[in-house]
């Protein structure tokens, strides 16, 4: 019962904040509501017994990515963008595409809904003795070592790319 209440609280916060992210005029308000969504999703992770990922979500998303967003918003001017038209003229295409997407997902979920409602207790827990962080770490450093290293290279490339893209051109290069 508590699980259900917690799920509905977090899900409501996540969906309402996500709608506000998309509809707000001011970019700073959008970023604030994005933070609320990210925290709510971290709570959803907690209800799914993924404690390590809830921590990673808060540290990386809220502490890293969202702060980066706010920094960039502070660097570029907000006032002028606020008075411009906020929405595209292609909203009919957007409505059609979203309707198709909702229909597709809804049909898939409807067809498969019997397989989702099986109680999880049918399958015994794999290794209930050790904690969630240990399980994730063991899988990450044994079975998924190569993807892990590739992910680190991806991060390195992203760092170099971001520095090169936002670097101020020197007079010699001009």
């Amino acid at each position: 019962m508590l699980e259900l209440v917690l799920f509905y609280i977090f899900a409501t916060i996540a969906v309402v904040s996500a709608i506000l992210v998309v509809t707000q005029q001011n970019v700073v308000h959008s970023a604030a509501f994005l933070g609320a969504t990210l925290f709510a999703v971290a709570g959803i992770f907690l209800t799914l017994h993924a404690e390590f990922l809830a921590g990673v979500q808060v540290i990386v998303y809220v502490g890293g990515i969202l702060v980066l967003f706010v920094f960039v918003i502070m660097l570029i001017s907000v006032e002028r963008a606020q008075h411009e038209r906020q929405y595209n003229r292609q909203w009919t295409i957007a409505v059609v595409t979203s309707a198709i997407l909702i229909g597709e997902i809804g049909y898939g979920l409807y067809r498969g809904k019997d397989t989702f409602v099986l109680p999880p207790a049918v399958i015994p827990p794999a290794v209930p003795a050790s904690g969630n962080s240990e399980l994730v770490g063991t899988a990450l450093y044994t079975s998924y070592l190569l993807p892990f290293e590739i992910a680190s290279i991806l991060l390195l490339v992203a760092i170099v790319g971001a520095v090169v893209l936002s670097k101020r051109r020197t007079a010699a290069e001009e």
Partner: protein
Amino acid sequence: MVTTFHYLLLGAALFTIGVIGVLTRRNIMIILMSIELMMNAVNINLIAFSDRLQQVTGQVFAIFVITVAAAEAAVGLGIVIAMFKNKETMNINEIDLMKW
């Protein structure tokens, strides 16, 4: 009782909101935020199935998704800064140099 179905519905709702944001907004910052929303929806699905099947693989892939999201945010915001330095705008309709 909360089933996997609930989590999949939540993921679908967040993903659809992200798609609507990407398609309708003209401010590039909000488009990047909508992409983050979509990645969060994918993470919810991955972890819901990880919990449903009692396997840790879904959580490992969610970590990879978060890594890619961080890289995407860094490069995307670098592009935004470079774009703002050149054209003084955040409106994607004015970035049409390569448009046919």
